[in-house]
């Protein structure tokens, strides 16, 4: 029993252990220097990431409430990687703050919550994990205490999360009422498609839709993304979104399989709305953070296209896309956050002529934007291609045509940024910025990931093999 717990809960225990170390340092007598804390935190996160690859086991604990397998393990590793990259990239921003240990403790608690959420084999554990992963985020969204925008963002975030949690809980209780169980396996067999169950499903889906900001549940996203510190924004848009998708995919494919006919149509409409509206709003944005926020909404639409396809290809392409999305979105946010932390400039006009002063940053941002747009040879091309291919597997070509058109719209605003960077002159361009080692590592990690992932065919093969269960 104890051996099982040690083996299967390995990743969760490591995160707890890191939190413990940081807390001990915090309450310890000596005041640590900020540089040292940052270094230690990054080393610990790196260790956490590496440890995710060694001695992994499959199995379940506590009456199947907690399960883990190789796919879940991979998903947790992806979240670890994203957290590490964000931590590296927010070096400059963190340096200007006093309470960075609190930042790391809060981030790691949300990570812990996501781990439980992904591993949950039961609606209760899922809900617990979800809350653990949400509430600390509101606290770090408010991390720039002096800025009013930051508090506003935190407040909007907590309100909208509470609302969506309410929807989820209502849905969960209805599911429990109609099927008599909270276990995923049991629910899957008990669903018959009565109208009450359908209502419960709609509530659950709305809860999910809130968290991953699917249109029409997206209204909180742009404000929260803009107001929060960029480190938090990238965490919100990559890590928490990815975690929710990792749950949403099995929930749809396994638990709500009996209702597949219904959720397929819902996803069809939601994905079109999300792609189109996300893109149309993104076109009009001048602030890069807002632009990336809306673009990440439209990316969610593309992921929904993939989910609405046939199940194995759907699951594999979603996980594969999210891996690439980690690199591309963090690459873009990394550069924006670095420049914003040092100069406070965030609009597209500010980026005019960036290439002349900061070629390295320009290239990383450009590659990341191309990857988001799905242009080869960046990995985003493969990710998008496979998502839409999974979507086309059901023969719904209308959806694919709309998605393909949306890729062109998206390309338009991404190219607008690239155009500003490379082609337009600026009287007062952003001066040359010296990139410290840690953020540089974070950015280069993203750039390498973007360029290499697509050419290493076995990554997809591996993910696809793991998704066989669906």
């Amino acid at each position: 029993m104890w051996n099982d717990i040690l083996a299967l809960l390995k990743q969760e225990l490591i995160v707890c252990f890191i939190i413990l170390i940081l807390l001990i340092i915090k309450v310890g007598a000596a005041e640590w220097k900020i540089d040292r804390i940052l270094m230690l935190a990054n080393v610990l996160l790196l260790a956490n990431f590496v440890a995710g690859f060694v001695s992994n086991f499959e199995g379940s604990l506590f009456n199947e409430m907690f399960t883990t397998n190789r796919l879940i393990n991979l998903e947790k590793n992806m979240l670890n990687l994203a957290t590490l990259i964000i931590s590296l990239q927010s070096y400059n921003w963190l340096k200007s703050h006093k309470h960075i240990i609190e930042f790391y403790v809060l981030v790691l608690s949300t990570l812990l919550g996501m781990f439980f959420m992904i591993s949950g084999g039961n609606l209760l554990i899922f809900y617990l994990g979800l809350e653990l992963s949400t509430i600390p985020l509101a606290a770090i969204a408010n991390f720039d205490l002096a800025k009013r925008q930051s508090s506003e963002a935190a407040f909007k975030f907590i309100i909208s999360s509470a609302f969506s949690s309410g929807l989820l809980l209502f849905g969960i209780s209805l599911v429990y009422g109609t099927t008599g169980s909270l276990d995923f396996d049991v629910i899957g067999h008990m669903l018959t498609g009565t109208s009450l169950q359908l209502f419960a499903f709609i509530l659950l889906l709305s809860g999910f839709a809130f968290k991953i900001s699917v249109v029409p549940f997206h209204l909180w996203t742009a404000d929260v993304y803009e107001g929060s510190p960029v480190a938090v924004t990238s965490y919100l848009s990559v890590v928490s979104k990815a975690a929710i998708f990792f749950v949403l995919v099995p929930v749809l494919y396994i638990v709500f399989k009996p209702l597949a006919g219904h959720w397929y149509n819902m996803l069809f409409i939601l994905s079109i709305l999300t792609m189109v509206i996300g893109n149309l709003f993104a076109i009009r944005q001048n602030n890069l953070k807002r632009l990336l926020a809306f673009s990440s909404i439209s990316q969610v639409g593309f992921i929904l296209v993939g989910i609405s396809g046939s199940s194995q290809a759907g699951s594999a392409s979603v996980v594969y896309f999210l891996l690439i999305y980690v690199f591309s979105n963090l690459g873009a946010f990394g550069v924006v956050s670095f420049i914003s932390a040092l100069t406070g400039r965030e609009t597209i006009e500010d980026y005019k002529g960036l290439y002349a002063t900061n070629p390295m940053l320009s290239w990383v941002l450009t590659i990341a934007l191309f990857s988001l747009a799905g242009i080869p040879p960046t990995a985003g091309f493969f990710g998008k291609f496979f998502l839409l291919m999974a979507g086309a597997g059901r023969g719904n070509y209308a959806l694919i045509v709309i998605a393909a058109l949306n890729m062109i719209i998206a390309l338009y605003y991404y190219l607008g940024v690239v155009k500003a960077i490379f082609m337009e002159a600026n009287e007062s361009p952003i001066e040359h910025l010296k990139v410290p080692a840690l953020p540089k590592m974070g950015m280069l990690l993203c750039a390498i990931g973007i360029i290499v992932t697509g050419f290493v065919g076995w990554i997809y093969d591996y993910i696809s093999a793991l998704s066989l269960g669906f």
Binding site: P376, F385, A392, G395, I408, L415, K419, M423
Partner: protein
């Protein structure tokens, strides 16, 4: 011969360029890389002749296949037939010439040559791909460099043109993407097995209803690259704003990607639909030919003249493909090669003139033959090839298309052929007028007296392209024999589909 060399050499060149310092190193590396590539292309031709001479009748030669994404049946599958070799030869000639005319690009030269080579990499990869995914991958690779090339080093309203060009071409490739997915999911051979492989798909029977749905996606998608009417509007803006080498690549290589795709993917893999839609294709192609020719008459800027005439000339390519007879298709491929060489030469000459006189307006030029005889001669040769003078490749290609088109006895096809023929007359008018006003007559500016004639690199660039033009124009048989096995396969496939 390992075909991946054709992709690896540009890749290595491009990466080496990134590590070079200064214009001298960068251009030297680019030139060496592109010359090696040209030698490879010629060697490929020789090996191909040897193989065919030895009695190898396989549809594609030098095939190799590596698994890329196993669960999705995606392979990196390459192979060539005569048609691809002709295109590869064309690309290698244009690339060398393009590098040579960019000899003095000193602003961000590293990036410039990197992007040029990257663009050519996309084209080479496209022409050797036998896997539809790989083909699409390389098609898109060749698009984005144009955005930078035009937007950074271009002239006039360059940012607008760059954006317009890229969005339209990406729109085209989005259509291709949908068409390819539709094709892929209908290649089911019975046991849930789908295929991206061109050879395998050509042996399957894609249901006619499916073909009718997805053929337009593929044909229009590729057609946009080849200035299919009414999606030709990126051509004039893009060409005229682009720097010389980029114009040469655009007209000489990129537009050929579209024609090749229309033939190899759309028409070859969906022959029934191609037959079904052939009337529409010919209608659009004829409009492009006639409209392009008349629109050129109105142009005053040399680059616009060549850009609009490209629309007209590329219309011949689509016309030849739409006619679905072997002669016409052979002519279409010849026209692609001929137009690629001719238009690259034309743009090179315009670029050389512009570098010296700083104007491209026909009305402001004049008498150039007296001061820069070499460049003027090049300009005349390009013009004569454009209007199809016997002895140049333009004559051979257009003649073949007309003969092939006339084989179609249907009245409408005949009318289209006649209309297309008459456009030659218009071509003659605008070419002779432009050439006459530019290089004959008195000087318009006193400063033109001081102009210097072509430097060695410009002479070399023009020389290569002229050799290509004359090699086809004087002795066309080698080219038509090179193409014959490829067009045979295509035409047999089409005929068997139509008769059933």
């Amino acid at each position: 011969m390992n075909l991946s060399l054709l992709v690896l050499v540009p890749l290595i060149t491009a990466i080496t360029v990134l590590f070079c310092n200064g214009l001298r190193q960068v251009r030297a590396v680019s030139l060496i890389g592109s010359l090696v590539q040209m030698v490879l292309a010629v060697a490929l031709l020789v090996f191909y002749w040897e193989e065919r001479g030895g009695g190898n009748n396989a549809m594609m030669l030098f095939e190799s296949s590596y698994k890329w994404f196993g669960p999705l049946n995606i392979n990196y599958h390459t192979g060539v037939d005569g048609i691809s070799i002709a295109m590869i030869l064309l690309t290698s000639f244009v690339v060398v010439a393009g590098v040579l005319v960019s000899w003095t690009v000193d602003r961000m030269s590293k990036e410039f040559f990197f992007l040029l080579i990257l663009l050519s990499l996309g084209a080479y990869g496209f022409f050797i791909s036998l896997d539809l995914f790989t083909l699409f991958f390389f098609l898109e690779i060749s698009v984005i460099p144009k955005f930078f090339l035009i937007g950074i080093w271009g002239s006039g309203k360059k940012e607008y043109s760059a954006l317009k060009l890229v969005l339209m071409l990406m729109g085209g490739s989005a259509l291709v993407f949908v068409g390819l997915l539709g094709l892929y999911f209908n290649t089911d051979a019975g046991n849930g097995f789908y295929s991206w492989d061109i050879i395998q798909i050509s042996e399957m029977n894609i249901p006619v209803e499916v073909q009718k749905i997805f053929f337009p996606f593929l044909f229009i998608g590729f057609g946009i690259f080849s200035a299919l009417f009414p999606f030709h509007t990126w051509v004039p803006d893009g060409h005229s704003s682009a720097p010389t080498a980029a114009s040469m690549f655009l007209a000489g290589i990129s537009m050929k990607l579209g024609g090749y795709g229309c033939l190899r993917v759309a028409t070859f893999l969906m022959p029934e639909a191609a037959h079904e839609y052939s009337g529409a294709i010919i209608l659009l192609a004829t409009i492009a030919i006639v409209y392009g020719a008349f629109a050129t008459l109105m142009q005053k800027d040399l680059k616009y003249i060549n850009a609009y005439s490209s629309i007209s000339h590329c219309g011949f390519v689509l016309l030849g493909i739409g006619m679905l007879t072997q002669t016409a298709i052979t002519g279409a491929i010849m026209q692609m090669v001929s137009h690629g060489l001719m238009t690259a030469l034309f743009f090179a000459a315009i670029g050389m003139i512009y570098n010296r006189t700083h104007t491209r307006m026909v009305a402001q030029l004049g008498g150039l033959l007296k001061v820069i005889p070499f460049i003027s001669t090049v300009f005349v040769i390009a013009g004569l090839c454009s209007l199809g003078l016997p002895g140049t490749s333009g004559f051979v290609a257009e003649m073949t298309i007309f003969i092939g088109s006339w084989e179609n006895t249907d009245t409408m096809y005949r009318i289209a052929t006649i209309l297309a023929c008459t456009s030659i007359l218009v071509t003659t008018v605008y070419i002779l007028r432009a050439v006459g006003q530019t290089i004959m007559g008195p000087f318009k500016h006193a400063a033109y007296n001081q102009l210097t004639d072509a430097a060695w690199n410009e002479k070399f660039a023009a020389g290569i392209l002229i050799v290509g033009i004359l090699a086809i124009g004087v002795a066309p048989l080698w080219l038509s024999e090179l193409l014959v096995s490829g067009t045979d396969t295509i035409i047999k496939h089409i005929q068997s589909a139509i008769t059933i």
